[in-house]
Amino acid sequence: MLDVRGLHISYGGVRAVQGVSLEVSTGEIVSIIGPNGAGKTSILNAIAGIRPPDRGEILLDGRAIGGLPAHAVVARGVMQVPEGRLIFGTLSVEENLRVGAHQRGGFILRSRDRSGLRRLFPALADKLDRPAASLSGGEAQMLALARGLESEPRLLLLDEPSLGLSPKLTEEVFELIRRLRDRGLTVLLVEQNVRQTLALADRGYVLESGRITLHGAAAELLSDERLVSSYLGVSVGAPSHRVPNR
């Protein structure tokens, strides 16, 4: 479904991503793991059209989408749930969902059946009229996911969905991603939380300093000596105290 070839991205002379290639097939959960600053978010932002790449190709179903503006990429069925959630605190929960569904539906907003939401996000369904700023961290992440799904994407780009969440909430979010995949959604997941991510994903890419250093089936990566010793060991159990980047 998604084919990224030779992606280069730099910020003011600093090379963030240097020749990254990766593939995502329909129905897969593919993860990009790597330390902070490895260039994971830059790759997602390039795919989503937030910041065009300097060089390289991004193909969606064989068609080039690299360099298209974000709204055109969303129109092709790709939705990113950004790092730090970026929910609209001054808008109600319902209005946040409406923003996610911006490219669907008519000019006048009509009341919508929320039974589907209630099944996947029961905590949100009871708080539709609350301002989103009043939600807890876990609820805010659920809202960010629900809002992204409102666009009915074929490919969901998830940027650090476990950021700032307790291990228990992280497990809930990951379980939700698994259920979404089972319903036919394709997911490209960026995470620092290596062990849980690889337990969830079908395949994984390890990104270090803007380069893919390792890739393969998630189960293989989990048992890889090099990954475990150099990187995984540092990261296990760490995420609970991390706060969103400012």
């Binding site: 937030i50 969303v74 970026l86 609209f88 001054t90 808008l91 209005e95 911006h102 490219q103």
Partner: protein, 299 residues
């Protein structure tokens, strides 16, 4: 006491037109974090085109009203393309200066269109007055109040019950998050400019019909009143623009009655000065300040 109440009623009535002008500034500021100084001049250009048609071709009054509104919308789109769309998002000062330049340009254009200084401006309804107990109401001012109330209601529905409105509010809270959601901000902002220009054009027509004349100072006047009303209420706040406009109207009406004509504008400036010193965020500013912090935290 009766004088005071009469003044307050009058103040609320023409204050409602200040509120509409302030809405034009506050929506643009809320979305772009920039001030469109050329707003008053764009209304003036629209009104001048309408007057020009009336003077030279004796078109019906309704055509003058519609031309005023359409001309303001076109001028608003012109301003958006030149001063806001073309200028980079982080260069707020550049777009403010360029909107000042466009102000001068629109004013020049208006004066070239109608080179004499003052023209009669035709109203849709005959001027008149009616009494209610000890109070006197001017018909055209009552019309203005009704028009303002209807437009505030329509704007509220637009912002809360339409896809466009929710998208606009999303952009004004966090442009980056709105981009992730697939909102084409350039298009939404252009529509927002057209919308506030329409509101401005309607307000401008109602004000000029009440004054029954138009002069080249109208652009300056409209920008001043709108800006002051917005600052009083709190920048970027829609309820603030309404409260600020009405407050300005009431203070001016009482200054006019108790102190004399020359104190009308002076009292407005004094009021603004006092507000900026005592409560820099404006009456509804507290919430805006909170929102600003919220936005920064989330970006």
């Amino acid at each position: 006491m009766i004088d005071f109440i009469q003044n307050t009623v009058d103040g609320v009535m023409f204050g409602s037109s200040y509120a509409l002008l302030a809405i034009g500034f506050t929506i643009v500021f809320g979305v772009m974090r920039r001030i469109n100084l050329a707003f008053g001049a764009s209304i003036m250009l629209g009104a001048y085109v309408g007057t020009w048609l009336h003077v030279h071709y004796q078109v019906p009054v309704l055509v003058v009203a519609l031309t005023t509104i359409a001309g303001t919308v076109l001028a608003g789109i012109y301003i958006e393309r030149l001063c806001f769309h073309a200028v980079r998002r982080d260069a707020a000062l550049a777009s403010m200066v360029s909107s000042f330049v466009i102000w001068m340009q629109l004013e020049e254009a208006s004066i070239h269109l109608l080179p004499e200084r003052t023209y009669a401006f035709p109203g849709l309804f005959a001027a008149g007055a009616y009494e209610l107990g000890p109070f006197l109401f001017r018909a055209e001012q009552t019309t203005m109040l009704v028009v303002a109330a209807v437009m505030v209601g329509v704007l509220h529905l637009l912002l809360h019950r339409t896809r466009f409105g929710v998208a606009l509010r999303a952009i004004s809270e966090n442009p980056l998050a709105a981009a992730y959601m697939g909102i084409n901000a350039a298009w939404v902002v252009l529509c927002a400019f057209a919308l506030v220009s329409m509101v401005g054009g309607i307000a401008g027509y109602a004000i000029l019909a009440t004054d029954e004349q138009i002069t080249p100072f109208f652009g300056l006047w409209a920008t001043f009143k709108g800006l002051i009303a917005m600052m009083l209420g709190g920048m970027g706040s829609l309820p603030g623009a309404i409260v600020g406009g009405l407050l300005l109207g009431v203070v001016e009406a009482n200054a006019l009655w108790y102190l004399g004509t020359e104190y009308r504008d002076l009292s407005a400036f004094l009021l603004l000065f006092a507000m900026l010193v005592l409560r820099p965020g404006g009456l509804m500013g507290q919430r805006i300040l909170g929102r600003e912090e919220l936005a920064f935290r989330r970006v």
